[in-house]
């Protein structure tokens, strides 16, 4: 897991109650048991904590943590 993936994983665990052992770069949000509102909650957390605004539909339940990290990176995160 790279640094950005690690940061995102920490946020999933600390803010959204995801079980730490479940999170790998290949985990999808469906596997992590986030529902569609959970995806929006995570977008808002990324916006607040990393300063990157993703589009409302950027994350889907089959998006993985690694794909999310790439989306955040493409928007200019330096984490």
């Amino acid at each position: 897991m790279n640094t950005l993936e690690g940061t995102l994983a920490d946020l999933l665990v600390s803010r959204l109650g995801v079980v730490a052992e479940d999170v790998t770069p290949d985990s999808t949000y469906e596997q992590l048991m986030l529902d569609s509102l959970g995806l929006i909650e995570f977008l808002l957390i990324i916006r607040k904590e990393i300063g990157v605004s993703l589009d409302d539909d950027a994350l889907q339940i089959r998006t993985t943590l690694a794909e999310t990290a790439r989306l955040v990176e493409a928007k200019g995160s330096r984490v």
């Binding site: 803010r15 109650g17 529902d35 509102l37 929006i40 977008l43 808002l44 409302d56």
Partner: protein, 358 residues
Amino acid sequence: MTARAAVLSGLGGWVPPRLVTNDQLAEKLDTTDEWIRVRTGIRQRFVVDAGMATSDMAVEAGRRALRSAGESRVDLVVLATSTPDHPCPATAPEVASRLGLGEVPAFDIAAVCSGFVYALAISVAMIECGSADTALVIGADSFSTILNPRDRTTRAIFGDGAGAVVLRAGEAEERGAFLGFDLGSDGSQADLITVPAGGSEQRSMGLVAPEDDYYFAMQGRPVFRNAVVRMSESARKVAERVGWSVGEIDRVIAHQANVRILHAVALELGIPVERLVVNLDRVANTVAASIPLALVDGVVSGHLQPDDHVMLCGFGGGLTWGAAGLTFPSLSVEPLPGLPLPTRPPLPAALPVHAAAR
């Protein structure tokens, strides 16, 4: 000389007697109690019976607010609603008349779920400028009457009700004085929360629209994000105007849209969820009534105390949003008929509901 201000002096609310639980909804729609609770925090809602209109609820809430304030007359009646008794005329004059308030100025404000904050801002401004010495401000909606009977999402989210406050002229240093407002709108996103047909746009076409277009429709994800961002930004602006740090806000009475929106607002503001006043578990989203009904709940449960720094914030269709700050006064408020008090703590704290439910 101290500045003239508008002071909160009375508060009341009312919900119709017909209770609909999540299980009752699940008997007719493809949904479950758990699905509704996990996604919204809502356990039940009250809805109007046949023949009951928004004005009926507004009169009941208005009467209780006047009683709370010890007033029998006011100079102004403003009703926030998106479900008026008729498309024309406004409902406020009838409400004023039925409350025995005589020939006072009375009008409606339509800003959907932000309506109460908008109505407050106008009424406060009219008192501050000397156009009125007292005002009755009501938020009332019978949204169950515009919901698509086949839509499991909106039927779970919304309930009917009315809440009202009485304002009087006073001084800015008094407890209860409204200290600052922020209002805003973004019409470029008007289609996120809408009843597409039934207005002049569709009627001017001279055609009948598809049946579903006559019902309320909402796009959940962008509405969720906008609600969180707009309410927290608006609350921050008001806190700055009033001279409070965000940490000095004791209680947030945000529009009761969804408990997960409320928790996300707390997270965005960086305040503990215990500072949220929450009643949507028992009354659902009552649109323009939501903030005054939450105020009633806060006072009756003791969650809101005199001298608390209170931030009201609303968000709704338009898009519209707004916030208002005040130091809470001491009020005598009647409990809502038929409504249980909140369980304490009001809802699972710290984590969003979906995680807590696992």
